[in-house]
C-alpha cells in the first residue's frame, strides 16, 4: 500500500513568498529521527498520516484551513486501531519535541560539535512555533558551528530550514532541484503555517 497526499506543499507554509501547489506527494516514513533520542524496538514507530492529520484537527478549533504538514512517528500498531489514537499521536509528538529541545540545549554546550548559542536560541524559538502550530517534529542537523538545520523529507521532496543567530533560510528541493529558496529572513518575519 502506498500513501499519496494531495495539496500538501509545505513550502506554502514557510514564508510570505511561498508558492502554492496541488501536486501529489508521497511520504517517507523515517524522516523524524533525531540524534540524541535512542530508539529501542519497543519505540519503533510507523507512519500514519491520517492520524497525524487527525491530531492536527483534534488540537485545533473552529473552521481553520488546516492542512497536515507532515507525519509523525506513531506507536507501533500491531492489532486493531485504538479509538484514542489521535491522543497517542499528540503524546508521541510532544515526546519528540521534548527530545529535540533537549538536543538543542545540549548542542550549545557540546564540546565536540558546539553550535553558537544565538543559533540554538533562535532554533528553540522556531521549535516552539512548530509546537504551537501542531506541526510534526523535524529531523535535526547542524553545520559550520553557526547553523542548525531542521529537515522534513516527503518522498521526492525535501524541506530544510537553516537557522543562524536571529535569521532563517529555507530551501525546498524536489526532483533533484531547488524549487524554492529564501534566506536571511529575520526571526520575527518568518511565518510558519500562515494559512491557518
Amino acid at each position: 500500500m502506498t500513501h499519496i497526499i494531495q495539496n500538501s506543499d509545505l513550502s506554502e507554509h514557510w514564508s510570505e513568498n511561498a508558492s502554492s501547489s496541488s501536486e501529489r506527494m508521497t511520504i517517507s516514513p523515517w524522516a523524524h529521527h533525531n540524534r540524541l533520542r535512542p530508539l529501542g524496538d519497543k519505540d519503533r514507530v510507523q507512519l500514519s498520516y491520517a492520524r497525524h492529520r487527525q491530531m492536527i484537527l483534534d488540537s485545533s478549533s473552529g473552521n481553520e484551513n488546516i492542512r497536515p504538514l507532515y507525519m509523525v512517528r506513531t506507536p507501533q500498531i500491531t492489532g486493531s486501531l485504538s479509538v484514542n489514537s489521535s491522543a497517542n499521536l499528540i503524546s508521541t509528538a510532544r515526546k519528540y519535541y521534548s527530545a529535540i529541545e533537549q538536543q538543542l540545549n545540549e548542542l550549545a554546550q557540546d564540546e565536540d560539535e558546539g553550535i553558537e548559542k544565538g543559533a540554538v536560541d533562535t532554533a528553540l524559538v522556531v521549535l516552539n512555533r512548530l509546537i504551537s502550530k501542531n506541526l510534526a517534529p523535524p529531523a535535526l542537523s547542524w553545520h559550520g558551528g553557526d547553523a542548525v538545520v531542521m529537515i522534513w523529507a516527503l518522498g521526492d521532496t525535501t524541506y530544510a530550514i537553516t537557522i543562524t543567530d536571529g535569521e532563517i533560510g529555507y530551501v525546498v528541493r524536489r526532483k533533484r532541484e531547488a524549487v524554492d529558496m529564501g534566506d536571511s529572513i529575520s526571526l520575527n518575519k518568518f511565518i510558519l503555517s500562515d494559512l491557518r
Binding site: 533520542r37 530508539l39 484537527l57 553545520h143 518522498g155 525535501t158 530551501v171
Partner: protein
C-alpha cells in the same frame, strides 16, 4: 599524481557513523555536511575516485582508514580534557554510496562545487569536494551549505553495506545495535513498497478529502 576526473568516472562517498546518521538510521540529509572551511572560506569534504578503487573492497579499505583517522583525532581531543571517547561517540565505517561524476551538481544558486582528484595520506583514490559559497551574509551562506549538501546527496545510490574486520566484535557498531537495515530504512526510496500493518482498512481522515490511500 592527480588525474583529471572525467564524465566516465564514478565517485563514492563513505558512510561514517555517526556523522552520516540521524540517531539510528542513515539518511540522505546528512550524507554531505559541509562543516568547516579553510582560510579562504572554502568548505572541503572527501570522497573516493572509483578509477583508483574499482573494487568494493578498495572503497571499504579507504572508509575504514577514514573512520580510524577520525577516531584518533577524537581520542586526542578527549585526552586533552582528560577523558576517553565514549563508546557511543566512536566513528564506524558502514559502507559507501556511489554516483556518476557527470551527474553531480557543479554549481547552484549561490555556490560552486569543485571535485578534484587529490591523493593524500597515501590514499591514491582520495577526492576533494570543495564547496565555495558565492553569496554574503551568515544565513545566506549557511543556507547554501545546506542546499549544496542536499543537492549532492540527491545523486548518490543505495548503500553498499560493509563492516570492517576490525569492528567485527564491537557491540557499539551500528549493525550490532540496529542491524544492517539501519543503512536503508531511512532513505527516501525505502518507502514506496512500505506496508503499514494496522491501517490497511483505513480510507481517509475524517472531515477531509485531501488524503487518499492507493493499493
Amino acid at each position: 599524481m592527480p588525474v583529471e576526473i572525467t564524465a566516465a568516472d564514478e565517485i563514492a562517498r563513505c558512510i561514517i557513523f555517526d556523522r552520516a546518521f540521524e540517531e539510528d538510521v542513515h539518511v540522505d540529509g546528512v550524507l554531505w555536511i559541509f562543516e568547516s572551511s579553510d582560510d579562504e572560506g572554502i568548505y572541503h569534504e572527501s570522497a573516493v575516485l572509483r578509477r583508483f578503487a574499482p573494487l568494493s573492497e578498495d572503497v571499504h579499505k579507504a572508509g575504514c582508514k577514514i573512520a580510524a583517522k577520525q577516531n584518533a583525532r577524537k581520542s586526542e581531543q578527549y585526552a586533552k580534557r582528560g577523558k576517553a571517547v565514549p563508546d557511543t561517540a566512536r566513528r564506524f565505517y558502514c559502507g559507501y554510496r556511489s554516483a556518476s561524476y557527470a551527474s553531480l551538481p557543479k554549481a547552484g544558486d549561490g555556490y560552486l562545487i569543485e571535485i578534484t582528484h587529490s591523493p593524500e595520506d597515501g590514499e591514491e583514490a582520495h577526492v576533494d569536494v570543495a564547496l565555495t559559497v558565492t553569496v554574503e551574509g551568515r544565513n545566506a551562506r549557511a543556507t547554501r551549505r545546506t542546499n549544496a549538501g542536499l543537492a549532492l546527496a540527491d545523486h548518490f545510490g543505495r548503500p553498499e553495506a560493509h563492516r570492517c574486520p576490525c569492528d567485527a566484535d564491537d557491540n557499539y557498531h551500528p549493525f550490532s545495535r540496529w542491524g544492517e537495515k539501519c543503512l536503508f530504512v531511512g532513505l527516501r526510496d525505502a518507502w514506496p513498497d512500505l506496508h503499514i500493518p494496522g491501517i490497511v482498512q483505513e480510507t481517509a481522515a475524517p472531515g477531509g478529502d485531501d488524503i487518499s490511500f492507493l493499493t
